[in-house]
């Protein structure tokens, strides 16, 4: 099952409408995915030379202040940490690889949920209203966002196995469906230097796109290549720093609806999530075709 949603504002300027609207969309998808909820927000840019990283601690009582001190001793922090209970966003002016290596060595219990100039990734076990509340989603601004409500089918109900999955800078993916060739593909991608944190099938799809983008493909080209290389059922919604894309498998088993107005593009597993958006009644609404990439990109 699972429910996925995406909202992409066409204008460059971050809007405070994003968080509350995404929370409303996710709330409509609760029956499709009561196990866990996650979302990726594309908010303000990190300062030049810096990147944002979303870290997740095993519990909400984690001592982020101490970690911030330790990180500041190791790297220049471009901003104060932003704390959201079990999650925290650090903005660090260095090479991300150095930070990942540091976390691995000094704080191996922390998970890196996403990194890049804009992306922040939050996910947890629970119903969408509760998870949105936990991370203050309704107070968050941004240009675009993806969300997911999960009904687990192929791996455990844990925060780590929740979507979105982010495997490269500013790239994330949410998925409704299941992949059947993810084990073999994960092995192949690991040899190409893609890192995986879980045994989840969706993470492999995210890793695959990261690999293709690294080869110089556009997001559309990467998704077209995925049609040949990924076996299984899927409706994907993909976010990049300035882009948003949708792909359904050739059989189109998993539902999807797209809607577009002059101001926004929205995607959801069911229309009722889109119906909550301002202007939805006048939006152009259609079902994306099988094996067809739909993408939008802000210049």
């Amino acid at each position: 099952m699972c429910g996925i949603v995406g909202l992409f504002f066409k204008q460059e300027i971050a809007t405070s409408a994003l968080g509350p609207l995404l929370a409303g969309m996710l709330s409509q998808m609760r029956e499709r995915g009561p196990d866990s909820t996650g979302f990726a927000l594309y908010g303000d840019d990190a300062p030049p030379g810096a990147f944002k990283v979303t870290l997740r601690a095993p519990g909400i009582k984690y001592d982020w202040a101490t970690l911030e001190g330790e990180l500041a001793a190791a790297f220049p922090l471009a901003r104060r940490a932003q704390l959201y209970g079990s999650h925290a966003v650090f903005t660090i002016a260095t090479d991300p690889e150095r930070v990942f290596a540091w976390v691995n060595t000094h704080q191996p219990g922390l998970d890196v949920f996403g990194f890049g100039e804009r992306i922040e990734v939050f996910k947890d076990v629970g119903l969408p209203d509760a998870v949105a509340q936990r991370f203050g989603l309704a107070q968050r601004a941004g240009t675009h966002a993806l969300g997911h409500t999960r009904m687990a089918t192929e791996s455990a109900v844990t925060t780590e196995h929740s979507h979105p999955f982010s495997t490269g800078a500013d790239l994330c993916l949410v998925h409704n469906g299941s992949l059947s060739n993810h084990n073999r593909l994960r092995q192949a991608l690991r040899r190409e230097g893609i890192r995986f944190a879980t045994d989840n099938d969706t993470e492999v799809a995210a890793g695959y796109l990261t690999w293709r983008l690294r080869q110089g493909m556009s997001l559309t080209e990467a998704l077209e290549a995925a049609l040949a290389d990924l076996d299984g059922f899927y409706t994907f919604a993909v976010g990049t720093r300035d882009g948003f894309a949708i792909l359904r498998d050739p059989i189109a088993c998993k539902p999807a609806v797209l809607a577009e107005t002059d101001d926004w593009v929205a995607m959801a597993t069911e229309y009722r999530a889109i119906a909550t958006l301002p202007g939805a009644a006048g939006a152009e609404v259609w079902e994306p075709r099988p094996a067809t990439v739909y993408s939008w990109h802000r210049q």
């Binding site: 059989i251 189109a252 539902p255 609806v257 069911e270 229309y271 009722r272 999530a273 889109i274 119906a275 909550t276 009644a281 609404v285 259609w286 079902e287 075709r289 099988p290």
Partner: protein, 227 residues
């Protein structure tokens, strides 16, 4: 006319009201506003009601319909008029996958496009689509007619039993055991009648007919003793 606002009332309350209407009641004409993609609107109707829905509906709208006329002034989600028995269901916009699935009778009209698997396992329903249908339409169709004024996607009529398929536009590909058949004068009359009932203007002579070649396992005489 009775108007029900789904911003105020639940779908369950609406459906219970529609189900309670008895033969002597004169509350025949209903209008539903603010459907906002809700599922299972106007399912299981058994009285000759006229229900108009203003806006887009979610899954299974007008499922199991018998005798009633349901009109959606918008798009419909998965499983429109699933297992329709009689009466009619019309969608002014597009319908998502599996429209009129396993329908046993009545008429389903989609003025726009229908998505994949339109008329899957149809068992007597008449379906008229003003636009095009997606892949695997009429899959395992057993009886009834599917009329498509636009194009049909891949694997049309796969594993068909006895339903008739009429397509005016292009067919991307035929499914297993589906073949083109002769379009007789009786077939042209049949299509013209269905287009008339659907109130869709199209020339019945432009349609081509597709049906079962009857070469799959279940048609083979050697397997008759298996049943």
């Amino acid at each position: 006319m009775i108007e029900v606002d789904l911003a105020q009332s639940s779908v369950r309350a609406l459906n219970q009201r529609l189900h309670r209407i008895g033969p002597g009641d004169d509350q025949r004409h209903w209008r539903v506003v603010n459907p906002n993609g809700a599922h299972a609107i106007a399912v299981g109707l058994t009285a000759p009601l006229h229900v108009e829905i203003r806006g887009h509906v979610g899954y299974y709208c007008a499922g199991m319909n018998a005798a009633a006329t349901v009109v959606v002034d918008g798009h419909a989600g998965t499983g429109l008029a699933e297992n329709i028995m009689s009466g009619s269901v019309r969608v002014h916009g597009n319908a998502a996958q599996s429209a009129a699935a396993s329908g046993r009778g009545g008429l389903v009209v989609i003025n726009g496009d229908a998505s994949a698997r339109c008329g899957i396992s149809m068992k007597g329903v008449a379906i008229v689509v003003g636009g095009s249908v997606g892949h695997m339409s009429a899959f395992m169709g057993q009886s009834g007619a599917l009329v498509v004024c636009g194009d049909a996607g891949h694997d049309l009529g796969d594993s068909l039993y006895e339903a008739d398929i009429f397509v005016a536009g292009k067919v991307a590909s035929l499914g297993a055991d589906c073949e083109e058949k002769e379009m007789t004068a009786a077939d042209i009359d049949h299509v013209a009648t269905l287009l008339g009932r659907a109130q869709i203007a199209a020339d019945a002579r432009r349609f081509r007919r597709y049906g079962s070649a009857r070469r799959l396992y279940n048609f083979h005489i050697d397997h008759a003793a298996e049943y």
